[in-house]
Amino acid sequence: MNDTARKILAPTLFIVAILAFWEWAVWYNDLPDFRMASPSDLIPRYVQFWDLFLIKSWETLWRTVVGLALAVVVGTLFGMIMGFSRFAREGLYPILVGFNAIPKATVVPIVALMFVGQHDFNTVLIAFMISFFPIAVSVSIGLSTLEPEYRDILRSLGASQATIFWKIALPKTLPEFFGAMKVAVTLAFIGTNLMEIVSPHGRGLGDLFDSGRISADYPLMFAVLFALAALGILLFYVVVFLERIFAGWAERSPG
């Protein structure tokens, strides 16, 4: 089997197998759809609400991406400060850890009160807050563990700190950065949905989920979960694609 065929065939095969098993398990146990909807229950929902799914997905997607972009900028900045200055690292680390430890579900109502009515802003804010920690940590670790010889080859030629950062420290940190991005992408989704569900404001897939709950349309709730998974996969592979371009050198060919 060649490489591309396997890369497409393998996941397809697994998805089909899992869906088939799920369908069978629901049918075999004779579960009503409010206890467990089966995949075949979902299709009518997609057909019925396809326009809503598109609109809501887009709302969820763009707010997640903006939150993530913000997390990249701020996280990299914090990572750089902590990576270069031991003083800043030792000072900021406990604060960041504490901030990260606060369950974001508790922050949602506070943010919703703080910026009343700014739903898009609030959603982006939560997506950002939940996803910037791994980026900051990985960039700081990447920079602070740079072997001194790497600095020395440029420093011995009289290069400035800025040159060393652009030519060596930054590219060398990219693999760690993308590793963190893969975690951050999923987290940002959780953040967006948290806002959409805990503080309902009629936008995003979280809203569709909520309306499924209110109208006791359980298959719709499951259908939303699948849409979220699809968006998550999409964004994840965008990150993988970018990683291939910018940090493909770190990937060893097998064998």
Binding site: Y150, K167, K172, W249, R252
Partner: protein, 288 residues
């Protein structure tokens, strides 16, 4: 202390240096003096932890000594200088760059009269010299350890430095690769002369490559012994087994034992095949 300019390519005058540690200052170098004439090759050997790497950082200007002076090319060293090339035990090639881009890296920092095309041509020429023809477009991860070290050597001299500082560059290689690279060093020097300071813990390497071998004492280190290596140029590995070389190696081995505190200075060196002692000269600085 003298303040007149140095007439040597590398000169260290009574350099004393200590690191600050929690337990107080840790003296590393004590009145260390060294003189390396232009285009000559100086090897520094010594017991481990005696401050050999400190020496390279001082000569390259990465660190300033507490006391004493470091002169390079008639100028007092106060900060890093672009006329220096460096290679370490770890070849530190940038994995995201091709071998060619890695070799050209110093020219992105140092202003050079070479045009981009000339520099590329020079890089290819150096690759040919070290036996890496055809590897210019490969990534470091595709090269073996010895090949990476060869590429690292090319990078350290691409900008035509007048001083090359080598900090145990062959230390992590297997014996065959190491001997191969020793010969490569001779080829490089024959092609374009440079002054070289080699830090090593391999006595055979020091005798094969260097014009003078400096033995450092234990910490804090001073130059305990200087051995002139009078094996004529175009050395071959067989020269290392000639009586003269064997004798020099015995002298060095004895001096290392003295440095480690395991033998007294006036003990006879380990028995050598020939009764004639190797020609040595007193340490610089002690002459004044």
């Amino acid at each position: 202390m003298q303040t007149d300019p140095s007439h040597y390519m590398i000169e260290l005058r009574e350099v004393t240096h200590a690191y600050k540690t929690k337990a107080g200052p840790l003296p590393v170098l004590d009145n260390f003096s060294l003189r390396v004439p232009e285009n000559s090759f100086c090897a520094v050997v010594g017991p481990s932890g005696c401050g050999k790497s400190t020496l390279t950082r001082l000569v390259s200007g990465l660190m300033k000594p507490n006391e004493g002076q470091v002169w390079l090319h008639n100028k007092l060293v106060t900060s890093p200088r672009p006329t220096v090339g460096m290679a370490f035990q770890n070849p530190v090639l940038l994995e995201w760059r091709t071998i060619l881009q890695n070799i050209l890296l110093p020219l992105e920092i140092v202003k050079s009269p070479m045009s981009k095309a000339q520099a590329t041509e020079r890089a290819h020429h150096l690759l040919d010299l070290v036996g890496l023809t055809g590897f210019a477009e490969k990534r470091p991860s595709e090269l073996s350890g010895g090949m990476r070290q060869r590429a690292s050597l090319c990078r350290s001299i691409i900008h035509k430095p007048d001083v090359l500082i080598l900090d145990e560059p062959f230390g992590a290689l297997d014996a065959f690769t190491r001997e191969d690279l020793w010969c490569t060093m001779h080829d490089l020097r024959a092609q374009e002369p440079f002054t070289c300071l080699l830090i090593t813990h391999d006595l055979r390497e020091s005798v094969f490559l260097a014009d003078q071998v400096v033995v450092m004492s234990g910490r804090p280190a001073h130059a305990q012994h200087v051995l002139e290596v009078d094996i004529p140029p175009k050395r071959t590995l067989e020269d290392l087994y000639a009586p003269k070389a064997v004798e020099m190696l015995a002298t060095l081995r004895h001096q290392i034992q003295v440095a480690q505190g395991r033998a007294a200075e006036d003990d006879a060196p380990a028995p050598a095949p020939s009764p004639k002692p190797a020609r040595s000269r007193p340490i610089p600085g002690a002459m004044q």
